[in-house]
């Protein structure tokens, strides 16, 4: 009797959990679609910036340098920006990033770098607290809709630190979105920007293949023939584009992270729902068996009792 009751209780609990995980899956799907839309809309900007850079570099601005492009002689002062989620239950999303972060911290310690940690997301903050590492800046405001204004604030601060020589290297650890079925945790160096062309090319390649293809054909069709008038001059425009492209790259990291988080949660919750389903099957089978054996034993008791009376 007791066993069947216990199984019924457990069955109820698992059914409730399945309801919750299924709902979470649906929510994650809806949020993923929204985040994805935002990311694709934002891609237009980076694409255009890349196009402008390509146009400008055709004018061959020889010997062009910008403080953000130049690597510093040392990389003593480094910042590592870690993008994690505020909520859990999203599979390996956070642990993937944090594993890389762990490695980077050790690497910095071995090479004598002064690495400052800046963490976005409660999950990452909890992890750092557990590891007893000091976090110089923490953000929890970036949910699944990072605003450019907020990211720009960060970017401006980094750019200022870099130009004044207080920062030699900026890395961002986040989950890059490659396709719906493929996201990978990466540590990317954003400052120094390095080769502007390479940076933008990398960006365009990260975008979906179809977009890149259309861009390529568009650029190939009209690119070399256009002769632009530059106001004020190609060089000064390039000077302005460097920080803009840096900001766009940082913003893209945040967007990618938001999209990947929702995908990770979607997948995790889908797995959980399926798992709960099979568990319910198993449990109801054992329950039926337990009930049946209980009935059988009761029957045999009655029959045994009746036989004893005769």
């Amino acid at each position: 009797m007791a066993k069947a009751r216990a199984i019924v209780k457990r069955l109820k609990a698992v059914k409730n959990i399945r309801k919750i995980t299924r709902t979470m899956e649906l929510i994650a799907t809806a949020r993923f679609k929204k985040a994805m839309d935002r990311a694709t809309e934002a891609a237009a900007y980076t694409k255009k910036i890349a196009e402008l850079v390509a146009d400008l570099s055709q004018v061959a601005v020889q010997g062009f340098t910008h403080p953000l492009l130049q690597p510093h002689p040392t990389d003593k002062n480094a910042i590592l920006l870690v993008l994690t989620s505020n909520r859990g239950l999203c599979g390996g999303f956070n642990s993937g990033v944090l594993r890389l972060v762990q490695r980077r911290i050790i690497e910095a310690r071995d090479s004598g770098q002064d690495l400052q940690l800046e963490v976005s997301g409660k999950r990452g903050l909890n992890f750092m607290r557990f590891q007893q590492r000091t976090v110089s800046q923490s953000y929890t405001k970036f949910e699944d809709k990072p605003l450019f204004e907020e990211v720009e604030e960060l970017a401006n601060r980094y750019a200022k630190l870099y130009v004044t020589g207080k920062l030699d290297r900026l890395d961002v650890a986040y989950v890059r979105f490659q396709s719906i079925s493929r996201q990978s945790a990466v540590v990317e160096t954003l400052l120094p920007v390095g080769q502007l062309n390479a940076a933008t090319r990398e960006q365009t390649s990260a975008q979906s293949a179809t977009a890149a293809a259309t861009a390529a054909t568009a650029a190939g069709g009209t690119g070399p023939t256009t002769e632009y008038e530059f106001l004020p001059s190609a060089r000064e425009i390039l000077e302005e584009i460097v920080p803009a492209s840096f900001k766009a790259r940082l913003f893209k990291c945040f967007l990618d992270s938001a999209v990947s988080e929702q995908i990770a949660r979607m997948v995790a919750m889908k797995g959980a729902t399926e798992n709960a389903g099979s568990m319910i099957g198993d449990l109801s089978r054992t329950y039926n068996r337990a009930r049946q054996s209980q009935i059988t034993s009761e029957l045999s008791e009655i029959i045994g009792g009746a036989a004893a009376l005769e």
Partner: protein
């Protein structure tokens, strides 16, 4: 290309493409002054300042956005405006803009970089106040 007398405005911010539509004419602030564009403009790449992006739709209605720096690229019939922020003038908040102007004016600036930054912020805030004020009077 120049014979094809059309003009298309593409207004892009890092967050989204706000507009992509044919227009009759437009006007926007470059780094050193206003610039007007009619169909058939020669290709251009320019740096934008803060101020009003004003354009006339094909239906004849005028629209204004406040844009905050960035770049413009004119290529063929398309005028692409890349800007960090674009706010429809109707939704500008005058009080907020005045507050920003006050803050910019009150901020101490000690070196060239800071003075430049302050001048930019001040300019931006002044433009915003001017635009917001105009939209409130309904002119």
């Amino acid at each position: 290309m120049a014979g094809n007398k059309q003009l298309r405005l593409v207004l892009v911010t890092p967050e989204k493409t706000l507009r992509d539509e044919p227009v009759a004419e437009m006007r926007f602030p470059l780094y050193d002054g206003q610039m007007g564009v009619l169909p058939g403009r020669a290709p251009l790449v320019g740096r934008l300042g803060a101020g009003e992006l004003y354009f006339t739709e094909l239906s004849g209605t005028h629209r204004s956005y406040f844009i905050d720096g960035g770049f413009v690229q004119i290529k063929g019939e398309a005028v692409t405006i890349l800007t960090n922020r674009a706010i429809p003038v109707e939704s500008l908040n005058r009080q907020q803009a005045e507050e920003q102007l006050k803050q910019a004016l009150a901020r101490p600036a000690h070196n060239d970089l800071e003075i430049d930054a302050r001048a930019r912020d001040e300019q931006r805030a002044r433009q915003m106040v001017a635009l917001a004020g105009r939209s409130h009077t309904g002119a």
